[in-house]
């Protein structure tokens, strides 16, 4: 492969950009919703120290989708079932961080292994196989895209309704319980919402790369701001820019979408880290 081939893979579609964009407009919408909602959910994932749980849920979600593919079910339904089973197990058994990590460590390879087994048994189109692991939003059918957007909206609504008790519980579960917050219900509710958004993300960016939209944007935002409104808003913006930007860049050529999304989200993080550490140095120098 030489530079011409690479340029062709990246920009070969430019002359037809308008038509391609019209074809994938629903994918852009789905990416936008996932970017926004994933960014918001990510803030709580960070506060509750659950990045590893996101990864664990996504592998079981992948197994569910692969099982659905094998037995001829709807793949989105399969991924949701897998996600929710994982979220429920982690939520119920892993109340403490240490228990949680060991449970996820046990579940994750099991889920991934099951998924690979189901995919090997499946003899349909091979493009479908890889897409669950590494994502290919533009190959998702329109009907399923509608579902993904709808689920994203449900997660957004649910998250807003439990926003304040969830924030209290994420910061200080003891004080929250003392003030009458039903902390167990709030935690399980969050796991449910997390499971749903992970299932959406598996289809858009792939099970292995879910963290790029559910962890990285929030981690980046927390580097440069600290307000209760500025962190979620900035995180949602970062998620949106990564997801939509990734899709818009990818359709210029023939390369998959996911690497674009992960790269944009990573670059945003790097920039935020540099800004954050520079500011830290300035404040420390000013105080000294």
């Amino acid at each position: 492969m030489n530079w011409n081939d690479i340029a062709d893979a990246m920009f070969g579609g430019l002359p037809y950009y308008g038509e391609i964009l019209a074809l994938v407009s629903n994918s852009v919408w789905a990416g936008a919703v996932l970017g926004l909602v994933g960014g918001l959910v990510g803030v709580f994932v960070m506060q509750r120290d659950m990045a590893f749980a996101v990864h664990g849920i996504s592998e079981l979600s992948f197994a569910g989708a692969a099982a659905a593919l094998l037995i001829g079910w709807d793949v989105v339904t399969g991924s949701i079932v897998g996600s929710l089973i994982a979220a429920a197990i982690i939520g119920v058994l892993g109340a403490k961080a240490r228990d949680r990590n060991s449970i996820i460590g046990v579940l994750m390879p099991f889920g991934l292994g099951l998924g690979i087994l189901f995919l090997s048994l499946y003899d349909g189109r091979s493009a479908n196989r890889f897409s669950l692991l590494t994502g290919q939003i533009v190959s998702v059918q329109t009907g399923q895209l509608g579902w993904l957007i709808g689920i994203g909206a449900v997660v957004l609504l649910g998250l807003l309704l439990i926003w304040r008790p969830l924030r209290f519980d994420s910061l200080d579960p003891q004080s929250a319980a003392a003030r009458g917050v039903p902390t167990t219900a709030v935690s399980l509710g969050f796991m449910l919402l997390l499971g749903l958004i992970v299932a959406v993300a598996v289809h858009i960016i792939g099970a292995l790369l879910v963290m790029a939209l559910l962890v990285t944007p929030a981690a980046a935002a927390m580097r440069i701001v600290s307000g209760p409104l500025s962190v979620p808003l900035l995180s949602a913006l970062f998620g949106f820019v990564s997801a939509v930007g990734g899709i818009l860049l990818a359709i210029m050529g023939t390369l998959p979408v996911s690497p674009y999304i992960t790269t944009i989200s990573f670059l945003i993080y790097v920039v935020c880290r540099v800004i954050g550490s520079r500011r830290d140095r300035v404040t420390r120098a000013a105080r000294a």
Binding site: Q47, R164, P165, L171, Q174, S175, G180, M222
Partner: protein, 277 residues
Amino acid sequence: MTPPAAGARPVVLSIRDAALQRGGRELWAGLDLDVHAGELVAVLGPSGSGKTTLLRAILGLEPLSRGSVTVEGEAVEHRGSRSIGYIPQARPLPRDTSLRGRDLVTLGVDGHRFGFPIPRRGDRARVDALIDAVGARDFADRPVGLLSGGEQQRLRAGQALADDPPLLLCDEPLTSLDLANQQAVIGLIDRHRRDKDAAVLLVTHDINPLLGKVDRILYIANGRFTLGTPQEVLRSDVLTALYGAHVFVLRAGDRLVVVGAPDAEASHHHHDHGADA
């Protein structure tokens, strides 16, 4: 110090014939305690004697194995209550916590509310008033993760006072604070009970910072307890009888040191947490 005349003031917290079991072992039984409005009662005792569990039982978060708890005349039935203020131990928050000081206080005002997070009229004024009441104006807008342990603890106190609770429960609120901050936090607790005539139950392992403020002491040890004024409880003969072992209460200047208490924590130790770098 003038202990309020028992019975003259209304009883805020009433515990009757309470017993507590953990892992099949009875920690204590037959506890009767009335805490009156405006009274500060300290709970002392070695670690593992069930002090924290007593607070959690009053909050309705853990069941007693026997007995009853009533707060302001109502039996505790629900998990958690907004008419009880709760100040936890001063655990430093992570540096990257995405909240400012004032948001910690705000959680006391709206953290229990479900529904779209739209502020209600008056919330902001209430939060400002609480911040002023705990003297946190100067650092209220800085990220909480960058504040010192003492500053964080003042904000937690502000959070606990959000609904002017008639009962305040404090679980080791002074641990890991330096002397100046210990005095500041005690001052806040003391002022709340005087201004609002609130009852305070405070678990501590070191009575010294509270001497002069505390009305009565509940000393739990060895599955038994003794209740009375500091002069009645903090005596070598009383604690020796309680522990069933020779225990000495020594006076060093205006400080008291309990020596020889089996399984007790050192009477004053300060943890370094390095957050003030």
